[in-house]
Symmetry: C2
Subunit: 597 residues, 2 copies
């Protein structure tokens, strides 16, 4: 059973109705299929059982983590969007105060309006560069002191004039910034409550009879807020979302076209034509064959390496209110891309568009089509896991991308400037989809070609070691979602199990075992129903803050008498970053005239 039956099975299937004269061998094959069948049921049910246990455990961990992080300001805060404009006071703020003190009288505390900081940020950048210039000018005399020249050359006088000129300019800028900071109010506010219970209730209820006004949701962590996206009006947000989904789908479907085009150009024969010095490569023996063999693959890898960045960029444009949601979105898009362009494109040779069209017009043929293709490609994926998977982890430790980028930066822009100790966050959008893809490959091949599994176990073990190291020592934590990634992991493992079942329905069909094929259909239905059950049983607690947990945490705080500190903290945590006073010159503008009064 452990033998890789898939390849031999496939050979039989390609010859199709070829009559085998040795009936004994056929009986063995049929018995083998029943072994496959029982393996499928066992793996499916055990997989679902493990998924259920894991979801449950992660749910408990999430609740514990929320309790541990109960001093975080986001537990007291909700994000309110589409606040109507008060024509009387020409502001949104008074509306917020009036609305929440009327409708949530016992728990409402205060609010923080969000300001449009895009112009201010530009000005702050300019002001900062002027401040740096002034500092440079000030430092120059002290640097030249030992040379005793500055008095003789009158450089000090010249510098003093320059400094006072620049200081005047800086003053003008600061004045402008101060004016602008409170000018463009957005119809968005963070509303702070006195209890977690009040915040949770307000976040989950419909405030206004016009459901597109006063839209409330739990606020993200202050560090996690995507301020730029809060400037997008809520009404046109769906357009952004549709645009991003469209762009990501187009990239996924038509990705193969530019890659093949570039691969076509990069062939050695064409290279010689376009770039004559390349003929020199032929002089070194062996190099030309390496080039011909590896160049297309390198180009493909290069393109695939860029895709996560592109998807991350698109995720940022989708208008999510928090960075974590942007990254989750990017993860999903990259995963669909990988499934489309690595899994399906390798399995079903032919363009992705044709395949999608085919499976829409003849959905019935999909399982058998998938089955014959899956069983033929087991070797390919074994190599894929061995090379790509393992090389991926070693690259993760070496961090070649960051190294390269840092070298370039230090040689060009950053030359002379202070060295930034580069602290990056874990690039979830690059790592997680690859792991998901490996799980998908492993699950789909678990029955058909179990030889893949030991390789995968090695892969995951290595991955575990690498990432425990990276998370502890290399990367910085930017946000903490308390397990928000898990529902996606769960869903994609379920998709993998369903794909395994579909491909086996196809294989049983190809092997003309309709009984096995039909009796797998209830298993597929059960898997889909299990998904629906999990959505109802676990997902809501990942999306909302239950009243019971909120009250529990409130009571813990009350016992320790900390509740007031906590919500007072929240007030300051959600200031728009453009409102933070910029310390250009300690002695000058910032301390005497604080930018925010």
């Amino acid at each position: 059973m452990v033998q890789n039956l898939a390849v031999t099975n496939c050979k039989i299937s390609t010859r199709e109705i070829q009559k085998t004269t040795i009936t004994g061998a056929r009986d063995v094959a049929i018995q083998m299929l029943w072994v496959h069948f029982s393996c499928l049921w066992f793996i499916s049910f055990y997989g679902l059982y493990l998924l259920h246990e894991e979801y449950n455990e992660i749910l408990l961990k999430r609740i514990q983590q929320l309790q541990r992080l109960r001093h975080r300001p986001d537990q007291f805060t909700i994000l309110v969007r589409e606040i109507p404009f008060c024509t009387e006071h020409k502001a949104h703020g008074c509306c917020v105060d009036h609305f929440f003190s009327k409708h949530h009288p016992y728990t409402y505390h205060s609010y923080q309006i969000v300001y449009d900081g895009r112009d201010v940020e530009v000005l702050l950048g300019l002001a900062e560069s002027i401040a740096r210039k002034i500092e440079n000018l000030r430092e120059r005399p002290t640097a030249m002191k030992t040379k005793r020249e500055y008095l003789l050359l009158g450089a000090f006088g010249e510098d003093a004039v320059k400094i006072s000129l620049e200081e005047d300019r800086l003053e003008v800028f600061c004045e402008k910034i101060r004016q602008l900071q409170h000018e463009i109010e957005l119809p968005v506010a963070f509303v702070i409550f006195k209890t977690r219970r009040g915040a949770a209730l307000a976040a989950q209820s419909q405030q206004h009879s016009h459901p597109l006004l006063w839209i409330t949701e739990m606020a993200p962590e202050p560090k996690d807020v995507s301020w730029r996206n809060l400037t997008i009006p809520y009404k046109i947000l769906p357009l952004y979302e549709i645009g991003v989904v469209l762009a990501a789908s187009l990239l996924t479907i038509f990705f193969a076209i530019p890659v093949t085009a570039v691969q076509g150009i990069a062939k050695f024969e064409k290279l010689k034509k376009w770039f004559p010095p390349a003929v020199a490569i032929q002089l070194i023996p062996g190099l030309s064959s390496i080039l011909t063999g590896y160049l297309p693959s390198v180009i493909l890898k290069g393109f695939i390496y860029i895709v996560p960045c592109a998807m991350f960029g698109m995720g940022k444009l989708a208008g999510c209110v928090s960075k974590s949601k942007e990254e989750i979105k990017a993860c999903n898009m990259v995963f669909y891309f990988l499934v489309g362009n690595v899994f399906f494109l390798s399995v079903l040779s032919g363009s992705l568009l044709d395949e999608i069209g085919e499976s829409f017009t003849h959905p019935k043929d999909f399982p058998s089509h998938l089955a014959s293709a899956v069983s033929a490609q087991a070797d390919f994926f074994m190599t894929y896991i061995l090379t790509d998977g393992l090389s991926g982890f070693s690259l993760e430790i070496l961090q070649p991308g960051l190294l390269f980028w840092d070298v370039i930066k230090s040689r060009t822009i950053g030359r002379g400037g202070e060295k930034n100790p580069y602290l990056y966050s874990l690039p979830y959008f690059r790592i997680i989809p690859t792991v998901w893809l490996s799980v998908l490959i492993g699950t789909v091949y678990a029955v058909v070609a179990p030889l893949l599994l030991p390789l995968l176990i090695g892969y995951f073990c290595l991955g575990y070691i690498v990432f425990v190291n990276q998370i502890q020592d290399v990367y910085e934590t930017v946000y903490e979602t308390c397990g928000q990634y898990w529902p996606y992991v769960h869903f994609y493992i379920l998709i993998a199990i369903a794909l395994m079942q579909i491909s086996l329905i196809g294989i049983f069909g190809l092997k003309s075992k309709p009984a096995a094929s039909i009796s797998t259909v209830p298993l597929l239905l059960f898997t889909l129903m299990f998904n629906e059950y999990c959505k109802k049983r676990f997902l809501p607690t990942f999306q909302r803050y239950s009243i019971q947990n909120a009250v529990e945490n409130d009571e813990l705080d009350e016992k320790s008498g900390q509740i007031e500190d906590n919500y007072e903290n929240a007030v300051n945590a959600y200031r728009s970053p453009c409102l933070q006073p910029a310390n250009f010159l300690e002695s000058e503008s910032s301390t005497t005239h604080p930018l925010v009064s």
Copy 2:
């Protein structure tokens, strides 16, 4: 343009690539198609505009109605399901009290546990019949007083013994009822709040970190509660729902089979064979031809008449918490049935199952298939509206079904008993789907065969007159949903508009005008996006009670000082019907020992 182009168009389409020698006629046809094209756009946009305005108006009316009915107890009450069992007190009640007074301390008032009343109801029925017997025995002597015989015959003494015996039996029954009434507690309760705001907040939030415990929703009106469905455990509710959906789909898809079978048996030739006296019909001239012509149609009508009742029965089994939701469910199922078996089956001749299979395997061909079929069937639907539609309203006034039922009942079961003044509720599940179907037919044919429209206007005017009369004078109001039916009406009109667009995409395709066909696709997409917009803009307020409205109504009550009366009313309004004390004998059991203490 007003001419019925469809039939001529279709004739052209069936001949397909037949070359017309007269190019002038062709030019006219092409120009006509552009007229159709602009009509389609005009009707679509005007339709969507009207739908938007109407939804808005009905939303406002709903809010006003909720304000007018603000004394109703359901505004203060939520329905809580899946209450955990308190092992300490061996009850659910203490859990409810503890949970809500802890988590909603300012607004929680009290609760009413729901009891399983199925056994009690049986016993109450038996007790009632005994009470009636006793009453009959007591009345006998007074009736015989004038005859002065009762003393002579000793009948009084005999009756007295009988009465005391029956009274003992009644006492035993009442004792048993009293025991049972509080025995089987369900994990369901109505929780009453002191303010509408509190109830709305609790209904819309997730109470427990286990989202399948403490499930809350706004309570239905007391009259509207479906007590029997509250006994169904929440966990197996999805099975009920799936079962009902499956049964309704099977009935819709395979409805044609039994009908054709019965029609086959009921043919006059076969009738003669099975039931020889039927030959006598031939003796009356003309009767046999009437029979042969009308019998199949009568059988079809009979079956279609029974379907709404069947669907209503299924709706009751689906486990909805209120009668209004049951009826809405039945309406939807009947509508899908009518669309499948009247609209599609008449349009696309052939079995419904084949058609569904066809459109799943070749979804691309659906528009052209629909188009050629739709344009061929305009005459049929004109007749349909004229006969079925108009006859439906006259039957509604005559109420033949109820008349017939009443006659049967008065002759069999109810003979001698007191006459029940029969007051029925408006059978929404029978009327609304028919009206929806007429709207669907009218919209689909609005561009292709506008001659249908005047007939439809006549139909709707007659319907308006009939139903204004029936609602005012004939039917009794059982529940008031404040416009809950409208979202469905809206959705089905949108489906009709989308179907019109799809059929016109097909027609333009058949007429080899790909430009017109392709430029209709954005219109279809726009319609679907409009649907999504309406779902976000209007639907939430139909499903939830917004905090703003709740607070407004609370304030109105506070001004008039009525708020306490209102929530005190709610406490008594949600008693399980099995707890109501049954007044069997005013002087006996019920007054001296009240059934509920």
